[in-house]
Amino acid sequence: MVDFLIGLFLASLIVALFTTRLYRLLLWYSLNSLTLGLLALTIGSNIDDDGMLVTGVITILIKAVGIPYILKNLSQKFHFVRQITPEIKVQYAIMLVPAILVFTFYLSEPIVNMIHTNANYVAISISSLFLSLLLMMEHSNVAPKIIGFLTLENSLFLLGITATNGMPMLVELGIFFDLLMAIVVINLLFHKEEMKV
C-alpha cells in the first residue's frame, strides 16, 4: 500500500512537470498532497503514531484542499497567466526526467545504506526534491513557481515521514504555519503589486 501511494506521489509530480495549464497544475498538486496525507495516515497507523495521523489529516485539509483553493482564488483575482508552457522542451524533458531519476537513485545509494527502515523511500523523496526544483526551473511565470515551491515542501515532508518515521509533532505544525505564512505573504505581495498599478 505504501509503495502504491509513493508511486502515486511521484506520478502526480511527473505529470505536473508536463502540464501546460495552471488549473491542471493545481489539481496535480492537490492530488500530490492528498497522496502524501494518505501516506502519513498509513504509516502512522502502521507504527501507531497518533501525531502522524494528525499531521496526515492536517496535510489533506490544508494542502490538498485549502492551498489549491486559495491559489485558485488568487489567480482569479489577479488574472494570472493560465497558459503555462514549460521552458524546457518536451524532447529534452523525456530524457531529462529519467536521467534525473537514475542519477538521484545513484547519488542516494550511500544514504540509503545508512537508513534501515523504509530505506527505498528516501531515494524517491530525494528524486522528487529534484523534480520539484525542475518544476520551478522550467517555468517563468510566478504561479507555477509557487507550486514548485509547495511541491518542494511536500517532498521534504515525505523525506521526513519516511526516513525518520515522523518528525516531532511540534516541528511539523511549525512547518504548516510557515507554509500558511508563505501563502499569506504571497497574497500580500500580490495585493501590494496591484496597489502600485
Binding site: 522542451k89 524532447q91 529519467p98 537514475v102 537513485f105 545513484y106
Partner: protein
C-alpha cells in the same frame, strides 16, 4: 596465406549471396553506362577484393585486399561523373577510407611487431603483452568504423554511396560495410581478447547513437539513394548494439547471453545485406527509368513497375522490422539480448541499458515512418513528373537480379534456424559457448530467447497464420462477389491531381518539426500572394534542406582549425625565421624535460619548476613582446 575457418566462410557466403544477384542486375544495368570496360574491371575487382579480405590470413594480405577494395570502389563512384558533387563525394570517400587505413596500419604494425606477414593467431600473444590495449582498440575502432560509417565517422557515407551507379551502391551498402564488421569480429574476438567492460559500452553507445542519427537523417532526405544510405548508418548501429551487448555480457561472464547477442549481430548483418541490396536495386531501377533521384518527382510507379514495387515492398517490410520478416527476427534477438540485461549485477549498467532499448525502439518506429514515406511517395498515388508518367518496367536481367535478391531475403526468413545454426558454429570455433540448442530447443518452429523467461517467437507460425487469414478473407471477398467499381472518390471535393497529394517533404513534416532542434533545417518559402491577401496566392514554393549537424559542427570546425594552424605554421616557417629557431629550441627543451620527468624520476616540485622554466622560455623566445 589464406584462412578458411567458419567465420571466413560465413562472410564468403555473405559476399556471394550479396553479389551474385547483383551481377545479374549489373549486367542489365550495363547499357546505361558509358565507360563499360572501366566499370567492369573495377566491379569485378571490387567483388574479388572483398572476398580476398575475408579469407586472407596475414596482415599484409589483409591490408592489400582492403586497399584494393577501397580503391576500386572509389573508381566505381567515379564511373558516371555528371557534376562536381560526384567528384567531391569521391574525394571525401577517398580521404575517409584512407583515414581509416592509417589506423589499421598502425594497429597491424603494433600487433605484428613489424612483421606484417605474421598470421592472426600469432598476433594475440604480442597484443596481450602490449601495455596499452585500449590504444589498439581505438585504432581498430577508427579503422573499421570509419569504413562502416558509424557516427561520428559517417558523414561521407550519404554522399559516396548514392553517387555510385546503383548496382555498386547496392554492393557498397549491402556488402562492403559488412566487411568492416568482419574485421571487427575477427580482430576483437581473435586478437584483442579479453576485453575490459568499457570497450563493450563504447561500442554499445556508438551503436545506439548511430542508429538514431541514421534514421533521423534518413527521414529528412528526399534523395532516395541518400535515404537508403542513411539507413545503412542506422542498421550498422543496430548491428553494433548487438555486438556491444555481446562484449558486455562476455566481460560479465554471461557466456550464453554473449553468444546469443553476437549471433543476433551476425544475423542482422546478413539481413541488412539482403534487404539493403534489394532496396538499392529497386531504387536503382526507379532511377534508371525516371532519370532522377529526387523522390518528389516520383509517384504512381507501382502501376508501371509492379515487380520493382513488389521487391521494394518486401525489403521495406523487412527493414522496418515488421513480423514475420527476417529483419524482425534479428531485431527481436537484439531486443532480447538488451532485455537480458536484467540478469546483470552491475546496477549502473543495468540502469543505462534501458536508454539503449529506448534508442532501438525509437529507431524502429522512425524506420517504419521512413519506409512508409519512401514506398508511398515513390510507388503510390499519382505521378509527379512526366518522367514518372512514362516509366516502364526495367529489363529482364535487372528484374531477375531483384527477384533473386528477394529470394535471399525470403530464404533468410524461412530458413532462420539453418542460418542460426551456422552462425552458432562460427562462435563455437572462436571459443564461445554454443547456444543453438537453447534457441531452438524443440524443433525449428519456435525461437527462444536465452535470457528473458518466455521470450519466444515463431516466425513460421506467424507467417502461415497471416497468410492463411488473409487468403481466407480474400477468398470470402471473392466468394460473395462484392460489386466493385473504379470511379472517382471524394478526395476533398477536388479532382485529385499530382499537386494535391502529399509530398515527401510534407510527409516527414511533423517528425521534422519535432526534431527541429536537431535538424536546424534551411527553409525556403516563397509565395506570390494575390492583392495582398494572406491566404490567396497564385504560386508558392517550399523547400527544406537539412545539413547534417555532425558535418557542420565536427568536420567544418576541424577544417577551420586545421586551416588556422597551417596558416600559422606557414607564417612561422616563411616569415619569422628567428621564432622558428626558437620553436626548435623550446621543443628540445620540452623533450629533455619530459624525459627527465617521466622516465627518470618524478617529483611534483621538479615538475612545477620545469613547467615554469618552459613557460618563461616560451614567453621570451616565441611570444616575445607585444608590438
Amino acid at each position: 596465406m589464406f584462412i578458411f575457418d567458419t567465420l571466413s566462410l560465413v562472410f564468403v557466403a555473405l559476399i556471394l549471396l550479396g553479389s551474385i544477384p547483383n551481377i545479374f542486375y549489373s549486367t542489365g544495368y550495363l547499357p546505361h553506362i558509358k565507360r563499360k570496360m572501366h566499370y567492369q574491371i573495377h566491379y569485378f575487382a571490387f567483388i574479388g577484393s572483398m572476398l580476398g579480405v575475408v579469407v586472407s590470413a596475414n596482415a599484409l594480405l589483409f591490408l592489400f585486399f582492403w586497399e584494393i577494395m577501397s580503391l576500386s570502389s572509389w573508381q566505381l563512384i567515379l564511373t558516371e561523373v555528371e557534376d562536381k558533387s560526384t567528384i567531391k563525394a569521391a574525394r571525401f570517400y577517398f580521404l575517409m577510407t584512407h583515414f581509416g587505413f592509417v589506423f589499421l596500419l598502425l594497429f597491424f604494425l603494433i600487433v605484428s611487431d613489424g612483421n606484417l606477414e605474421l598470421g592472426f593467431s600469432a598476433m594475440q600473444l604480442i597484443a596481450s603483452k602490449f601495455a596499452y590495449p585500449s590504444l589498439l582498440f581505438f585504432f581498430l575502432l577508427l579503422g573499421f568504423l570509419s569504413k562502416a560509417g558509424v557516427v561520428p565517422l559517417h558523414v561521407w557515407l550519404p554522399y559516396a554511396h548514392p553517387a555510385a551507379p546503383s548496382p555498386v551502391s547496392a554492393l557498397m551498402s549491402g556488402v562492403m560495410l559488412k566487411v568492416a564488421i568482419y574485421g571487427m569480429l575477427r580482430f576483437l574476438l581473435d586478437v584483442l581478447y579479453p576485453w575490459p567492460l568499457e570497450w563493450g559500452i563504447v561500442i554499445l553507445s556508438l551503436g545506439a547513437l548511430s542508429s538514431l542519427v541514421g534514421v533521423l537523417y534518413a527521414l529528412s532526405e528526399h534523395d532516395i539513394k541518400a535515404l537508403l544510405a542513411n539507413h545503412s548508418i542506422e542498421n550498422i548501429g543496430i548491428i553494433l548494439i548487438g555486438f556491444g551487448m555481446g562484449m558486455i555480457f562476455d566481460t560479465l561472464h554471461l557466456e550464453v547471453l554473449s553468444s546469443f547477442a553476437f549471433i543476433a549481430a551476425l544475423f542482422h548483418t546478413f539481413n541488412h545485406m539482403s534487404f539493403k541490396s534489394l532496396l538499392f536495386m529497386s531504387a536503382g531501377a526507379v532511377l534508371h527509368q525516371t532519370h532522377t533521384k529526387n523522390m518528389e518527382k516520383y509517384g504512381g510507379l507501382i502501376k508501371a513497375m509492379p515487380v520493382t514495387a513488389f521487391a521494394f515492398l518486401i525489403a521495406a517490410i523487412s527493414i522496418s522490422a515488421l513480423p514475420p520478416s527476417n529483419g524482425f527476427l534479428s531485431e527481436w534477438m537484439i531486443f532480447q539480448s538488451l532485455l537480458s540485461s536484467s540478469h546483470m549485477e552491475n546496477i549502473s549498467l543495468k540502469l543505462a541499458i534501458p536508454f539503449a532499448i529506448f534508442a532501438l525502439a525509437m529507431t524502429g518506429g522512425l524506420a517504419i515512418a521512413c519506409f512508409v514515406k519512401a514506398y508511398g511517395i515513390t510507388f503510390l498515388g499519382l505521378h509527379r513528373s512526366t518522367n514518372a508518367k512514362h516509366a516502364t518496367e526495367v529489363n529482364f536481367l535487372m528484374k531477375s537480379g531483384m527477384v533473386l535478391m528477394a529470394g535471399v531475403v525470403l530464404s533468410l526468413m524461412l530458413f532462420t534456424p539453418f542460418y542460426i545454426e551456422w552462425f552458432d558454429k562460427v562462435f563455437v570455433s572462436l571459443g564461445r559457448v554454443s547456444v543453438y540448442a537453447k534457441i531452438f530447443p524443440d524443433g525449428v518452429w519456435h525461437m527462444h530467447s536465452v535470457g528473458m523467461h518466455g521470450g519466444m517467437v515463431s516466425p513460421l507460425v506467424l507467417l502461415l497464420s497471416l497468410l492463411a487469414i488473409t487468403a481466407l478473407m480474400l477468398f470470402a471477398y471473392r466468394l460473395f462477389g462484392v460489386k466493385t467499381r473504379v470511379h472517382k472518390t471524394w478526395a476533398c471535393g477536388y479532382t485529385s491531381s499530382a499537386k494535391s497529394q502529399y509530398s515527401a517533404t510534407g510527409f516527414a513534416g511533423p517528425i521534422r518539426r519535432f526534431f527541429n532542434w536537431l535538424y536546424r533545417p534551411d527553409e525556403h518559402f516563397d509565395k506570390e500572394s494575390v492583392a495582398g491577401h494572406e491566404t490567396k496566392f497564385s504560386s508558392s514554393h517550399y523547400e527544406v534542406h537539412v545539413q547534417p549537424l555532425f558535418e557542420r559542427v565536427f568536420y567544418q570546425s576541424i577544417a577551420k582549425l586545421t586551416n588556422t594552424i597551417s596558416y600559422w605554421v606557414y607564417r612561422l616557417a616563411h616569415f619569422e625565421k628567428t621564432r622558428y629557431a626558437a620553436m626548435i629550441f623550446n621543443i628540445m627543451l620540452l623533450v629533455l624535460f619530459s624525459y627527465r620527468l617521466f622516465s627518470h624520476e618524478f617529483s611534483w616540485a621538479l615538475a612545477v619548476f620545469e613547467i615554469l622554466v618552459m613557460m618563461t622560455s616560451v614567453k621570451i623566445l616565441i611570444i616575445g613582446d607585444k608590438k
